[in-house]
């Protein structure tokens, strides 16, 4: 093994990469291709499915489940905005005023991850319950009518998604804010910027990479989520993930499920590319902002 790396510089890299590349090719790329093939099959659970290159499956699925697609984007988008509104001040506080509590605060933001995602969502079921810790007291003092519900509403679904993905937003924001050199903030003060223009013309533009990363990390899983809609929602608040899950695991309608899955992935990749271009590097360091 001695001096192998000096004699074959490229070979070492490929030896190190080979297991991972092979694994991802076989268990990420091949399944994606296979899913696309399945989406073009026709048949029924009883008779089995044949490869008929049925491209008409795509427009058919889009028109049948348009509402669920729109709902997924709306819920995911709203949850992302809420995560940003909740996460930015939190990240800002930790980055600039965390002091010696910085590590502790970061740990407290990560800690919920060590609890099962399902159990945390079920906890929200307890919190949102019709006579639970929020609605119970409000109903006792007569602020809301007895028939008012949070559980099984879109509000509960969006709140659940927001809760689940808040750390995904907060951590990249923190990382971006933490990197801002204090000298830049001081310089803006020396140049007579008031606190408002310092925030909007220095801090905010420099935080853009974190905002981009955080909103992608939140939006992508939020759009594909079905657990919150299943546990906290109602049949009218179903998202596209619920439909895909039902197609694969209940209806055994693989071509429909595969087409919807493929559409979800394609839509998200397209959104990521457009977003990355809009918030691209040329804007990050603020000629304009």
């Amino acid at each position: 093994m001695s001096d192998f790396s000096r004699r074959h510089p490229g070979a070492v890299a490929w030896l190190l990469l080979a297991p991972g590349l092979l694994y991802l090719a076989v268990f990420y790329v091949v399944p994606t291709v296979q899913m696309f093939l399945v989406s073009l099959q026709t048949g029924s659970p009883g008779t089995g499915y044949q490869q008929t290159w049925n491209f008409a499956n795509y427009p058919a699925q889009i028109s049948t489940y348009w509402d669920e697609f729109v709902r997924s984007v709306a819920y995911g988008g709203l949850a992302t905005l809420l995560c940003f509104a909740l996460g930015f001040p939190l990240a800002y506080f930790i980055a600039f005023r965390g002091g010696r509590y910085k590590s502790l605060l970061l740990f407290l933001i990560i800690a919920p991850f060590f609890t099962s995602f399902l159990l945390r969502t079920i906890s929200w079921k307890i919190i949102f319950a019709d006579n639970g810790m929020i609605l119970g007291p409000l109903k006792d003092i007569g602020l809301v009518p007895d028939s008012f519900r949070l559980l099984a509403t879109p509000i509960a679904v969006i709140a659940g998604i927001t809760y689940n993905f808040l750390p995904f937003m907060t951590l990249p924001l923190y990382v971006a804010l933490e990197k801002i050199p204090p000298s830049l903030l001081e310089a803006s003060g020396d140049l007579y910027a008031d606190t408002r223009s310092r925030f909007f013309r220095v801090t905010f533009p420099l935080a853009l990479p974190g905002i981009v990363a955080g909103s992608l990390l939140t939006f992508i899983p939020a759009v594909g989520d079905f657990v919150n809609a299943e546990l906290l929602g109602n049949p009218q608040s179903q998202m596209i993930g619920n439909v895909i899950q039902a197609k694969f695991l209940k209806a055994v309608d693989y071509p429909a499920g595969a087409a919807l899955s493929f559409l979800l992935m394609a839509a998200i990749l397209a959104a990521v590319l457009v977003y990355a271009r809009l918030a691209g590097t040329e804007q990050l360091y603020g000629a304009k902002a």
Binding site: L17, P19, F96, T115, G224
Partner: protein, 307 residues
């Protein structure tokens, strides 16, 4: 947006100057952010607290959704439900194996990406990035379509990829964990200089010795963080597992199945044990790495859990 006007805290002396109105406004702007941060952290912790509290519940019916009274029965018999021990064992086994396999594969990839120049770097980065930016449900369904297709592939022995079971869950977990390991270890590797490895080579250490005596000890904290992340992603995964498990039940699948009939209190007990173990482990590794060097960014790396 409650953003404080100053990046530095106001001092006590500044707070007590001026008219009462000015003083009040300064007090509000001084305390708005800390109070907000406290509330936000409490909000994040609330569901965890409820999970722990309800592990001491004494429910009358099957549903553990309303507080009925204090009991430690479930803690005395945490696995005393049919199917629960098997589910917990399956989760622990899959999490352990997928962590070992994904960490090994991922560390090698991260080393290649940071320490070597080669053609195809862009493609490699893309292949690592894609699984993380694909929704979990798509990863699950696409693997399911592959596994189902292999049922007709006569050149594969049955039982490897079909029928579904422990092997297919493990394959899926390794797949989604690789990218997270690469990203975590790569972030760590970017931080430290290469001169120590060059020094080792100058002192006639071969590649193997250099790796185990110099590189590995340096990246060990990053490797530990990646392994912890992989383990916690695996043991908690519901979505991908639901599509690749077949008849096998893991702990998250057990919870999901039970939530329609009413979740037994034991589930909260095991959830609490997993939570406390992870917290203890993180505190332990943080203290250990603090002794070596102080780097608060590590805490962020440990928990940077993606889609």
């Amino acid at each position: 947006m409650a953003v404080g006007p100053m990046p530095t805290p106001t001092t006590g002396a500044e707070l007590s100057r001026g008219t009462p109105v000015q003083r009040f406004r300064r007090l509000v702007s001084h305390w708005a952010l800390p109070v907000y941060a406290f509330l936000a952290v409490a909000y994040l912790a609330l569901p965890v607290m409820i999970m722990i509290a309800f592990s001491f519940n004494d429910p009358t019916g099957r549903a553990n959704l309303t507080w009925k009274g204090f009991s430690i029965d479930a803690w005395l018999n945490p696995l005393g439900r049919p199917g629960l021990p098997e589910a917990v064992f399956a989760s622990l086994l899959i999490a352990t194996l997928s962590t070992i396999i994904a960490t090994t594969i991922g560390v090698l990839m991260a080393l290649a990406l940071v320490r070597h120049s080669f053609r195809g770097r862009g493609l490699t980065n893309l292949l690592v990035f894609l699984p993380m930016s694909t929704p979990e449900i798509v990863l699950g369904t696409s693997l399911l379509t592959l596994f189902l297709a292999t049922a007709q592939w006569t050149f594969l022995p049955t039982g490897v990829l079909y029928p579904l079971g422990m092997t297919t869950i493990l394959i899926a977990h390794v797949m989604f964990n690789i990218s997270f390991v690469v990203v975590t270890v790569r972030a760590r590797l970017l931080g430290f200089p290469t001169h120590l490895e060059e020094a080792a080579r100058d002192l006639y250490a071969d590649d193997w010795t250099t790796f185990w005596k110099v590189t590995f000890p340096l990246i060990l904290p990053g490797v530990m963080a990646a392994a912890l992340l992989a383990f916690s992603l695996s043991i908690d995964d519901y979505v991908i597992t639901a599509f690749t498990a077949g008849p096998t039940t893991t702990f998250p699948l057990y919870i999901y199945g039970a939530q329609q009939r009413g979740i037994p209190v034991q589930v909260n007990v095991i959830g609490t044990i997993i939570f406390l173990t992870a917290v203890a482990f993180v505190l332990f590794t943080t203290v250990m790495s603090r002794r070596q060097r102080t780097n608060p960014a590590d805490a962020a790396t440990i928990g940077a859990k993606g889609p």
